[in-house]
Amino acid sequence: GIQVEQSPPDLILQEGANSTLRCNFSDSVNNLQWFHQNPWGQLINLFYIPSGTKQNGRLSATTVATERYSLLYISSSQTTDSGVYFCAVDPLGDYKLSFGAGTTVTVRA
């Protein structure tokens, strides 16, 4: 099956700092989503981004489908940004998301 690798596995930030999370995948995809899992376990949709660039407030994401990677940018981080960020992809010809192992982000005040 498709391989989804996220880096770094852990990230510690000071409040106000910027950061970049990366997702590499091993095959062509129909769909790519970024999620934030909060401390209560809820998976929150951040971006549906099979290609291109999107922005939502302090977060933005870019997917370069031809090079099989996606980046999630967090700017001016806040303590509420803490949690695990997951990248998930749906390979071409498939219809289910496969998740990476996640990046655990801790933002310190």
Partner: protein
């Protein structure tokens, strides 16, 4: 409802017991998914429904696990003869037509603990 609803939010049971977990998807979503998430890992696919039928159940770990969606809306995940290794958060997600064409939206999960 506005989002995917799962019940119960927490379930503690004893080894060998039978458990049912319920998922109510977003209204109008034809695709429904069950995932399982163990501590420190990403969610893993269990089963996918398109309408009433299970289009792909390749992620179910063994024949103790079964899921139904009789009317194409609410789904129930059933686990027989539970084992301690079944302890995990069970996540349900729905999509308008399927993840190959659009977003998946997840519920808050049902945390299962088998003692």
């Amino acid at each position: 409802g506005a989002g995917v609803s799962q019940t119960p939010s927490n379930k503690v049971t004893e080894k060998g017991k039978y458990v049912e977990l319920r998922c109510d998807p977003i209204s109008g979503h034809t695709a429904l998914y069950w995932y399982r998430q163990s501590l420190g890992q990403g969610p893993e696919f269990l089963i996918y429904f398109q309408g009433t039928g299970a289009a792909d159940d390749s992620g179910l770990p063994n024949d103790r696990f079964f899921a139904v969606r009789p009317e194409g809306s609410v789904s129930t995940l059933k686990i027989q003869r539970t084992e301690r290794g079944d302890s995990a958060v069970y996540l349900c997600a729905s999509s308008l037509r399927g993840s190959n064409t659009g977003e998946l939206f997840f519920g808050e999960g049902s945390r299962l603990t088998v003692l």
